[in-house]
Symmetry: C2
DNA sequence: AGTATTTAGGAGCATATACTCCTAATTATT
DNA sequence: AATAATTAGGAGTATATGCTCCTAAATACT
């Protein structure tokens, strides 16, 4: 079995390629594909905690928090401590965020349409369904028996 | 059209999930999924330049260079200036790299087997085929008309 | 009530990814 | 041969991603 048949590699490659395309299509809006999807999700969900958002994004808790940074800095979202739970912080779109999302929507739709007309609407739908129902084992706490991760010290040893 | 139907998001999500799984399966070896695939590819290709490797990985040129760092630091690969072209640098597996790859191979195969028994060998094969033949437009040089990218200044504005 | 456990989420670290800009070396042009 | 254009690839910057460790707050337990 050759590395070309790696399921992980195939998915990563495809994700890179499509991300580049969507990023390029969205670039007139100043948003990345990831940022667009976060804003769109917030628009659907209203006010949510970081954890809930992370769950909906299928994204690590800490990653979700970090992804808030550029959005908050650009004042597209607002983060506040939860009034009901002192541990929690809640996120919501600002007016500016909602307007930016609205303006970006046609660009996203154009990307969707192009992708689907290039690959077939049917194939795209099937692919999305296949991907969302993939069974991937969680493998919790594998770190215990893990070898030390590779470390690097500064820059590439030239020559 | 809701954000749940975003082709880009679907692919990114699936790539994250499967990467976590393969990373966990490979963790006893100290390699990440990406690193494993680079070593495996180098094992197939022998001595190659960064650019050629990048092309085979469907990866940006500069990203490929950066991905060499931890591998080179761990002495799994060796990078030298090309003897025939002074601009170019060539990469190859070290003995240690080849041995590490060999030892990691069963873990990768186990990940492949588990994924394929959980989802069906046929589905996995079809999925890989679909992904590798996806038509994704290159959209070169879109940056010219791009708005300024989001910028952040340090850490999240707390509270 | 007081302590222990769980939960929310940031900080630090490391990798992965791409873009812009830059330098050096090669190749093409005149 | 001298200059121009191309090519190889690193440096810097910024986002995306996940893990470990840490703190504060809420909940469970005795």
């Amino acid at each position: 079995m050759a590395i070309e048949d790696c399921n992980c590699m195939s998915l990563r490659k495809a994700a890179r390629r499509i991300s580049n395309f969507y990023d390029a299509m969205l670039s007139p809006t100043g948003l990345r594909a990831t940022q667009y999807s976060i804003l769109a999700l917030l628009n659907e969900l209203g006010i949510v905690s970081i954890n809930v958002l992370a769950e909906r994004l299928d994204l690590d808790r800490t990653t979700t928090g970090k992804n808030m940074r550029p959005l908050a800095f650009a004042k597209l979202i607002k983060i506040r401590p939860s009034p009901t739970d002192g541990r929690s912080r809640v996120v919501q779109l600002t007016q500016h965020g909602a307007a930016t999302l609205k303006a970006a929507r046609p660009h996203w739709q154009k990307a969707q349409r192009e992708f689907e007309s290039d690959n077939g609407e049917r194939l795209a739908r099937n692919l999305r369904r296949t991907l969302s129902t993939l069974r991937v084992r969680a493998e919790p706490g594998k770190q215990g028996e893990a070898k030390t991760r590779l470390q690097h010290g500064g820059r590439l040893p030239m020559a």
